[in-house]
């Protein structure tokens, strides 16, 4: 009995052992890895091993050295949610390929690869490259005059679009035409001239070489008279490594000038629709652009504008736009800004980041709780951005207080307007102003006994000599407007024949009707006066009340800070600017690099590459769709998910 028990006990142990071993055999996936032929140059005898997420450091050390290979080092910066990455030197007698195959068989290894050799791009020799923090942030302090965004200057080293790694892959975008739909481009600028998409373009009037001008009737000359478009163009594609000025994200490029905004930076639906259709058009004489940048915006839904963007989508064009500079949350319907908020999938809407990758204080954003519904997509550098410019502005007003007119010599056409220099002060000094009747009493908080009559038509105007030759002439002013009902109007006009600018033949600069109470001076309200280039260009303001309606004792208009400047184009002008307008071209440049690298990409691949390839940044997590700031190298690394997978018996 006892003997049998002992025999049975040993047999039991065998049986238990059998069952126990069964539990060990299953569970480990069989990995059949056919290693390929590595044709690219790699460091001889070295293998990089990416371990899976839960593999600890010391375990990785042991696994790397398991077969006699030497652990050279563990990489110090690895992506989140992955295990350690180790560099190993393979032992004598086996090849890199064989070592890789060995490592790949280990269930703890994500993948193993050769240590490929890359040629890092060295910094280009452009004179002001060190100012381009958005491309390379070394924590540099920007000290040039003209810099006014002081928050987070200097910023944080590394907070940039990683352009030098991207340039190790590609820096030439010239196979991709990028259209700058804006105030035009100064195509004579020394750092842009070689990167223009010169051609033979069918413009509203005549043939253009650098693009077309669609402002108003339009011309074949898209010269930039404001500076904005030139600045945007430089961020995308100023010539790199030519010792001059700055460099674009594209060191070589094909920039197409599409002028739809005038010298004051204003444009209309009609101009923009023509411009977008031209830029995206593929017929002879059209732009054939594959990327459009639009650093512009307006507040209301515009069916024709959206339709033009949808047409561009059918031509596979990516449209990169600025989010807006009013610090507004686009998830609130009344804050909607367009084209940013159009739902079309070929649009990338860009918010602005500062030098520490905080969101710029002025930047619009979208904090919609439904992430997929957010219209602002990604962030990009947008403060203290150095780039190419149009030239210089000269004051034309010759009074005792340039640059503003002192309001002497104005003609008060009908009763109502009067000169006043005590009502408003700035730093204790009275400010010259034109005010409608009793306006000072109203705004000082008192109740004026004067209620404007119905059917009022008060005009005030002055002749200016604008015959000097400039590339453009711009007038601007500030206005305080109180109009109680919709029948009351304010107009600003000019007339090149001089005298009353409210007769037939005059041109409107600005207008509004009531009800409107600005609660202070709004401005600058600008107008392009280039057509008023006579010795007697009359500029004037008009206050009209309706034939019926109750006017309030608080009604009236106040005008201050009237200035007129002449724009002179120059070839070596640069400037610092701030805005989501500056952030947008960083993304357009990245999109151009991605498109140039991957000629077969559809617009959706480019959009996905930009959004998915960005760097997560806390300030943008709940304020943009991707939660990222754009990264040029990340966008180039992105790979679209394979499609059209079929399986069949073989």
């Amino acid at each position: 009995m006892k003997t049998q028990s002992i025999k049975n006990t040993s047999l039991c142990k065998i049986i238990f052992a059998l069952f126990f071993s069964v539990t060990l055999i299953w569970g480990k996936p069989v990995s059949i890895n056919q290693s390929g032929i590595f044709n690219k140059k790699f460091a001889p005898g070295e293998v990089l091993i990416q371990y899976k997420k839960n593999v600890g450091q010391s375990y990785a050390d042991a696994l790397t050295q398991l077969r006699g290979n030497t652990l050279k080092r563990t990489l110090s910066h690895t992506p989140q949610n992955t295990g350690p990455i180790q560099l190993a030197t393979v032992r004598q007698g086996i090849t890199v390929e064989e070592a890789i195959a060995e490592y790949a068989q280990n269930a703890n290894v994500e993948y193993a690869q050769p240590n490929y050799i890359y040629h890092a791009a060295s910094a280009p020799n452009d004179a002001k490259y060190g100012q381009l923090w958005g491309l390379k942030n070394t924590g540099q302090t920007l000290t040039d005059p003209g810099i006014w965004y002081t928050t987070n200057n200097p910023g944080t080293s590394g907070k940039d679009i990683n352009i030098e790694s991207a340039w190790g892959v590609i820096s030439d975008c010239s196979s991709v035409v990028v259209a700058v739909v804006d105030t035009g481009i100064n195509y004579t600028q020394e750092d842009l001239a070689a990167n223009m998409a010169t051609g033979s373009y069918s413009c509203p009037v005549g043939t253009g070489t650098y693009g077309c001008d669609f402002v108003g009737v339009g011309t074949n000359n898209p010269m930039d008279l404001a500076g904005h478009g030139t600045h945007v163009a430089g961020t995308i594609g100023a010539r790199g490594n030519n010792s001059l000025g700055s460099t674009g994200i594209c060191q070589t490029a094909k920039l197409l000038a599409v002028r739809v905004l005038d010298a004051t930076g204003s444009g209309y639906t009609s101009d923009i629709v023509e411009g977008v259709n031209f830029a995206a058009g593929t017929a002879t004489g059209q732009g054939k652009a594959k990327i459009i940048n639009m650093s512009l915006g307006g507040g209301g839904y515009d069916a024709l504008f959206e339709s033009a963007i949808v047409s561009a989508q059918s031509n596979d064009v990516v449209v990169v736009v600025a989010a807006g500079n009013s610090a507004l949350d686009h998830s609130v319907p009344s804050n909607a800004s367009y084209p940013c908020d159009y739902p079309d999938s070929n649009i990338i809407c860009v918010a602005a980041a500062d030098q520490k990758y905080q969101m710029a204080s002025f930047s619009d954003y979208d904090a919609n709780s439904n992430v997929d519904a957010r219209n602002v997509d990604v962030g990009a550098p947008g403060t203290n951005i150095y780039s190419t410019y149009f030239g210089t502005s000269t004051d034309i007003i010759t009074t005792t207080t340039p640059p503003y007119d002192d309001f002497t010599g104005w003609t008060y056409g009908t009763a109502g307007w009067a000169y006043n220099n005590t009502c408003f002060t700035s730093s204790g000094v009275g400010v010259a102003s034109l005010l409608t009747q009793q306006f000072c009493g109203i705004v000082s908080g008192g109740t004026s006994p004067f209620v404007p009559a119905n059917s009022l038509d008060s005009r005030v105007y002055k002749n200016f000599n604008l015959s000097a030759v400039y590339s453009a002439v711009i007038a601007s002013f500030y206005a305080w407007i109180d109009l109680s009902d919709s029948l009351d109007y304010f107009y600003a006009n000019y007339n090149k024949n001089g005298g009353d600018p409210f007769v037939t033949g005059s041109t409107n600069i600005a207008w509004t009707n009531g009800p409107l109470h600005t609660g202070g001076f709004v401005g600058p309200l600008s107008a392009d006066l280039s057509a008023c280039n006579t010795t007697t260009c009359a500029i004037g303001f008009q206050y009209k009340t309706g034939v019926t309606g109750n006017n309030s004792a608080y009604d009236g208009i106040g005008i201050i800070y009237v200035s007129i400047t002449g724009q002179t184009i120059s070839a070596n002008s640069y400037a610092y600017e701030n805005g989501t307008s500056m952030a947008s071209p960083h993304v357009a440049g990245i999109a151009a690099l991605v498109r140039a690298r991957n000629p077969k990409y559809a617009y959706s691949d480019v959009v996905n590459a930009v959004l998915a390839g960005g760097d997560p940044e806390p300030a943008f997590t709940s304020a943009t769709k991707s939660g990222n700031v754009a990264d040029a190298y990340g966008a180039l690394k992105y790979i679209p998910e394979p499609t059209g997978v079929t399986v069949a018996l073989h």
């Binding site: 049975n8 047999l11 039991c12 049986i15 238990f16 069952f19 126990f20 069964v22 539990t23 055999i25 299953w26 569970g27 996936p29 069989v30 990995s31 059949i32 890895n33 056919q34 290693s35 390929g36 032929i37 590595f38 044709n39 690219k40 990416q50 899976k52 992955t82 994500e110 993948y111 690869q113 490929y116 892959v169 690298r597 991957n598 000629p599 077969k600 990409y601 559809a602 691949d605 180039l636 690394k637 992105y638 790979i639 679209p640 998910e641 394979p642 499609t643 059209g644 997978v645 079929t646 399986v647 069949a648 018996l649 073989h650």
Partner: protein
């Protein structure tokens, strides 16, 4: 088999052994049966399947050496990069198809395809999952 049962009877004399028998039988049973009969992923079958996909639009995947695709497969669904077997198809071999052999008839296999490049060895997101039942 009968010997085994006879030994089992003897072994189950004590409660300690009973517990262990139950435990191991349950565990062994579930593991064995979890892989069904036959073992679909044992690499010992005689069937092959061919997988095809759209050529990658990425230049670094399809044209720069060091790029290619990986086919991930398993006999259970919800394939990921970490829970499946892998067949590597470098672009120099093919940009649009690959075969998996040594599979078993009677098994269903689930497949997803990923693309990779020198710049991005970890690779793209995986494609939609496909399946095939081998008769």
């Amino acid at each position: 088999m009968s010997i085994l049962i006879k030994e089992l009877k003897i072994c189950s004399a004590s409660k300690f052994h009973q517990t262990f028998i139950v435990y191991f039988v349950v565990v062994a049973c579930s593991l064995i049966l979890g892989n069904c009969s036959p073992s679909c992923m044992d690499g010992k079958g005689d069937k092959s399947i061919k997988i095809t996909w759209d050529s990658s639009r990425s230049y670094d995947v399809s044209t720069v050496s060091g790029g290619g695709h990986k086919v991930y497969y398993n006999s259970t669904s919800s394939i990921s990069k970490t829970n499946s077997a892998i067949v590597d198809i470098p672009a120099s071999t093919s940009g649009v198809s690959g075969t998996i052999s040594k599979l078993h008839g009677g098994c269903t296999y689930y497949i997803r395809v990923g693309a990779y490049s020198n710049l991005n060895p970890a690779g793209s997101n995986l494609s939609a999952e496909r399946s095939i039942k081998i008769p």
